[in-house]
């Protein structure tokens, strides 16, 4: 089980959280001018990296805040957590 350092509450067990998948996917403005393919890129296409993954987590059973995590998808090591709106830190495994 992961131990996830909530930027507000500190380290808490994974069972308190919900994973929201890839982070930093901005909802396109003027979606009406996008092609079906461009729209599906936002809707469905994901980086799904083997290595450092910038992802969103929600402290659902705790403070209910969403935040970002930089986590290695191979080792599950968590390199950084940072609040919504903050820029992703560059991490080197």
């Amino acid at each position: 089980m992961l131990l996830i350092p909530c930027p507000y509450c500190g380290p808490r067990e994974e069972v308190e959280f919900a994973c929201g998948g890839e982070a930093h996917i901005a909802r396109p403005a003027n979606s009406d001018r996008l092609s079906d393919a461009q729209w599906s890129d936002y809707l469905f296409m994901r980086k799904n990296p083997k290595g450092v993954h910038y992802e969103r987590w929600n402290h659902a059973r705790g403070c209910r805040r969403w935040f970002n995590v930089a986590r290695d998808t191979v080792t599950h090591r968590i390199y950084a957590v940072y609040k919504m709106g903050e820029a992703p830190p560059s991490v080197t495994p």
Binding site: L3, D32, L34, D36, W39, R56, A60, T75, I78
Partner: protein, 1001 residues
């Protein structure tokens, strides 16, 4: 009652004053407190305890610990029976009963042994090569194969015992309470760290429990006692015996199982039988010791053949003699010390066979001095014996062959040692890689990737002094890393020992005939995998470690190959001509030893498996004898049968009453979200398909919520309570999901919006009055609310008192009738309900449940999200374009509605279906076909989403999603139901009061 012929006159940690009666294979025996089942059996001279898995050869006790591959028994009887228990780990208690498994009719005479005679037909993987003809016969072959396999039996009744689960947190978790573990725990504890020390055995001490050595000048046993006393005096040190750390997960999350009551007679203790410990450890010290390696020689599986350290353990710790004339076969000095232990206990040593040409350590000389013959440069090339080893064929070792004449040496036990394998399982699970150490001829932990240190024998240490030193250092360093500032004190001191001479790796001991053609060289004793099987697998190309393991099933038994894996890896390397270690290792998968399923469930079983959510009116529904329906975690009253009524009758009565008089329903489970802030309306405009700017204070509006994929996700009514204040309702099942959805967008996408959302689902109990008489009833109980439709119109809300209870009343309707949804404090819900029932008596008020609610809404063609929709349905499909704003530039899901497929005009549309025979109710989930064929396949054009008999329409009604449905209006379609086909007509999905005239009563 036999005596204990092999019990030594003195010594051991058993309590001879506590005699315990037990039975094995229906024969009565006696042992002592402190015995394991294995030691008690040995003391009673019982060496034949089981049969091999495949060839059903006689098997005895091979080890004294959790690595035991052979002595697997069925423990206990009835609902408390347990299959596949290792006799070496079962603590004896009075009345214990156990039996051999995998043999019939008896362990002495086992018909399965016929397999042994035909063994040449059953090489590794034989079943992949046959049982294919005739094609249809596999299931028949399989039936017999399944019966042959399977070891023990499952209980045939539910488990009467309780299990417990707990989380635990510590700075330093020490796994293993041998010398290294105790030293580590002491060091960490003294430094002030929160320590948990866990050991799988009945008492801490590990190898020291069978050791004659001294520490800090004290005999080992006394030092253990002192160490435990000191740990007990620490406020934050916890020592757990009978506790196996079995899995090592991410971020130092270690699972352990404590056998709380397994050492006691069944049902003799009130507490749980086992406890699952889920430990989040800052640092871990792995001091799990090492497991001795068997030697792979011909017929190395006869009862009486055991590990040398096990023989010494039985003698020293349990005062049980493994035999009277023991032959020792070993490639290292340690086994000589074990031999000495046997000699000191008065047990005869018939010889020591050592493949090393010239073992010269002091211990060897001492053995010789005691008059024991040491056959250097020799090996055991085979064994003989029936039900127990009777002699060993000893031959001279000449390179990788044996030479000269075989000398038969009589013995009733063989103590073997091929060296040691550090117990690195948890280290490997933690992600650490293993490295092969040629000097020690074994795998050692490499660089750790988590906060773990390995100490003592688990780290390859051989001397007691090294174990103590490494343990102390690891404990001290772990405490420091965990932030404990105190002093760790000095490392315990053992008396200095002269270092051992190197062992001589010998991975397969030659015999006269080539491997596989004479006796059997067993590697995995439990799965009956031999050296010949491994060589065959390699010949056939299954030469990667995992292929080898899977093809031969090597290491896949209940012992998970603790005694066999390294021998197999080495033999694989040798066979391929590689360096040992070059072929890698198989992965060590959790659990370290098997763990009872019940322990994982803990208290979360039966009625506590999942929370049952109850409304404030639950008790009232129960009293009325209403059956309940599971809706998510909620229990909702389904219908209220009168005496003699079935569901159909009750629902018919309830549904009629609502449309002719007044009905009352508990709608408290609806999700309710309080939304406040200047941008609340903007939020609503984004998450709903319709526009919200013009909603006046005090008015309500229905909304449809889409996923970003354009598919309907939820629906509900939202009310404007104040300038910047709204109350959103959601479907029962989606309450949490919708709040999460709003927060997701607010926090991640639109942080600029000034909106706060708070769940108030349980702040309000909801009681809905429905029916033409609803107003008259309500009027009797409220004085401060004008109920005149002109003053209190449909889709509006008022605050006031009902039966003197503060209430919010919403004029929204899920039935199409005049309806008031009365919201009050849950603690007042029963009072309100009873007041309404009392006052409603003269109007023949009828309580109704979810089934009637569904019928009534279906009569009106109202959808239920999750029933009419399934994640593939758009508002257009539902015929609800009217609620999709064309004006709004964007909202969640808008763009997806414009995709090529989503905007097709001929998608599946929600339609009504009327069966030709009005009394025939279409099956819900029935598939709709345009043209019937005499047999499948038939092209399906949709399915029935809802279907009921409508008491108010006086006929059956149904809703269905039908391909291009709106262009099939009036068409006849067919719904195959089992053997019959029901004809039905496509209509509008409205079956009662289509003009909606009844809303105002």
């Amino acid at each position: 009652m036999t005596t204990q012929p092999y019990r030594l006159a003195r010594g051991g940690r058993i309590d001879r004053a506590k005699r315990l009666r037990f039975s094995f294979n229906d024969r009565a025996y006696e042992g002592y407190r402190g015995d394991t089942l294995a030691s008690a059996l040995l003391a009673n001279g019982v060496v034949l305890v089981g049969r091999g898995f495949k060839y059903h050869r006689p098997r005895g006790i091979m080890t004294a610990g959790s690595e035991e591959p052979n002595a697997i028994v069925q423990l206990g009887v009835g609902d408390r029976t347990e299959p596949n228990i290792r006799a070496t780990q079962v603590e004896l208690y009075d009345g214990l009963s156990a039996a051999s498994i995998n043999c019939w009719p008896s362990v002495e005479f086992d018909l399965g042994a016929v397999n042994g005679m035909m063994s040449r037909l059953f090489p590794a993987g034989f079943y992949y090569k046959t049982f294919m003809w005739p094609p249809s016969f596999w299931m028949k072959y399989e039936y017999f194969i399944r019966r042959m396999a399977g070891l023990g039996k499952a209980p045939d009744a539910p488990d009467p015992d309780r299990y417990d689960k707990t989380f635990a947190h510590c700075d330093v978790l020490v796994v293993g309470a041998g010398p290294a573990g105790l030293a580590a725990a002491l060091a960490a504890g003294r430094a002030g760290a929160r320590v948990i020390l866990a050991d799988e055995q009945a008492e801490p001490g590990g190898s020291l429990l069978a050791s004659g050595e001294t520490i800090n000048g004290q005999p080992a046993a006394e030092w253990i006692a002192a160490a435990l006393a000191e740990l007990a005096s620490m406020p934050d040190a916890r020592v757990l015996a009978r506790t196996t750390a079995f899995s090592y997960g991410d971020h130092n999350y270690v699972q352990m199982v404590e056998r709380v009551a397994d050492h006691l007679p069944p049902a003799s203790s009130p507490g749980p039988r086992q406890r699952l410990w889920r430990v989040r450890a800052g640092q871990v010290v792995l001091a799990a010791g090492a497991i001795e390696r068997p030697l792979v020689f011909a017929d190395n599986d006869r009862p009486g053949i055991m590990l040398a350290s096990a023989a010494a353990t039985y003698v020293r710790r349990y005062a049980a003699a493994p035999g009277r004339r023991v032959l020792v076969f070993a490639n290292n000095d340690g086994a000589y010390r074990d031999a000495l232990a046997l000699l000191d206990a008065g047990i005869g040593i018939s010889a020591i066979v050592d493949p090393r040409p010239d073992p010269g350590a002091a211990i060897v000389a001492e053995i010789r001095r005691r008059g024991i013959e040491v056959l250097a440069g020799h090996v055991v090339a085979g064994t003989k014996g029936h039900g127990r080893v009777e002699s060993a064929q000893v031959m001279k070792l000449d390179g990788d062959k044996v030479a000269g004449a075989a000398r038969s040496i009589g013995c009733d036990a063989i103590a073997m040692s091929g060296g040691w394998n550090p117990t690195v399982h948890l280290f490997s699970q933690s992600g650490g890689k293993l490295r092969f150490d040629a000097a020690r001829a074994t795998f050692l932990p490499g660089a750790p990737v988590q906060a773990i240190r390995v100490a003592g024998a688990a780290n390859g240490a051989t001397s007691l002094q090294d174990c103590l030193r490494e343990g102390h250092a690891a404990g001290a360093a772990s405490a420091a890393d965990a932030g404990a500032a105190g002093k760790a004190g000095d490392a315990p001191q053992a008396e200095p020992a002269t270092p051992d001479e190197p062992a001589m790796p010998i991975w397969i001991v030659p015999s006269v005939k080539p491997v596989g053609e004479g006796g059997k060289h067993f590697i995995d004793h439990q799965n009956d995998v031999t050296a010949a099987d491994l060589q065959l697998a390699v010949r056939e190309g299954y030469s990667s470690v995992e292929h080898l393991k899977r093809y031969t099933t090597m290491g896949m038994g209940t012992d998970q190959g603790k005694t066999s894996n390294v021998n197999a890896l080495a033999l694989l390397a040798v066979t391929l001509g590689h360096e040992v270690g070059a072929v890698g290792t198989t992965t060590f998968r959790p659990p370290y030893t098997p763990v009872t399923v019940g322990a994982f469930a803990g208290h979360d079983q039966g009625d506590l498996l999942d929370p049952v959510r109850k409304t404030p009116l639950h008790g009232w529904h129960e009293i009325m004898g209403a059956p309940f329906e599971n809706v998510g975690q909620w229990r909702r009253a389904w219908y209220y049968p009168k005496p003699g009524e079935d569901m159909h009758a009750a629902v018919g009565r309830e549904a009629k009453a609502v449309r002719t008089g007044v009905g009352i329903v508990d709608a408290s489970t609806l999700g309710k979200i309080d939304i406040q802030g200047p941008d609340a309306v903007e939020l609503l405009n984004w998450v709903y398909t319709n526009a919200w700017n013009k909603l006046e204070i005090g008015r309500c509006r229905y909304g449809l919520m889409l996923g970003e994929d354009g598919m309907v996700m939820d629906d509900g009514v939202t009310t404007r309570l104040g300038e910047n204040h709204y109350l959103m309702t959601t479907t029962t099942g989606n309450a949490a999901r919708v709040l999460g959805w709003l927060e997701n967008w607010l926090q991640c996408e639109w942080p600029h919006m000034r909106v706060y959302c708070t769940s108030v689902t349980e702040q309000w109990a909801t009681v809905a009055l429905n029916g033409p008489l609803a107003r008259r009833l309500l009027a009797e109980l409220t004085t401060d609310i004008e109920l005149d439709p002109a003053k209190f119109p449909f889709l509006s809300f008022r605050e006031g008192r009902v039966a003197a209870i503060p209430a919010r009343i919403y004029r929204i309707s899920f039935t199409g009738e005049l309806s008031y949804e009365i919201n009050v404090a849950p603690s007042h819900a029963v009072a309100l309900w009873q007041a309404l029932m009392a006052a409603g008596e003269k109007y023949a008020i009828v309580p109704y449940g979810t089934e009637t609610m569904h019928v009534l809404r279906a009569e009106k063609g109202y959808i239920i999200v999750g029933q009419e929709t399934d994640g593939t349905v758009t508002p257009h499909d539902l015929g609800m374009d009217w609620i999709v704003s064309k004006a709004k530039k964007d909202f969640i899901g808008k763009r997806s509605l414009a995709r090529a497929d989503t905007s097709r005009p001929d998608r599946k549309h929600l339609m009504g279906l009327l069966a030709e025979n009005p009394s025939e109710v279409l099956p819900e989930g029935g598939q709709v076909v345009a043209e019937v064929k005499d047999r499948p396949p038939m092209a399906m054009i949709g399915h029935v989403t809802s279907s009921y008999f409508s008491p108010n329409a006086g006929r059956s009604i149904a809703m269905a999603l039908i391909k291009n449905g709106r262009n099939r209006m009036g068409e006849t379609v067919h719904v195959p139901a089992g053997e019959r086909v029901i004809r039905a007509t496509v209509t509008e999905p409205k079956f009662f009061d289509p003009e909606g005239k009844r809303l105002d009563g």
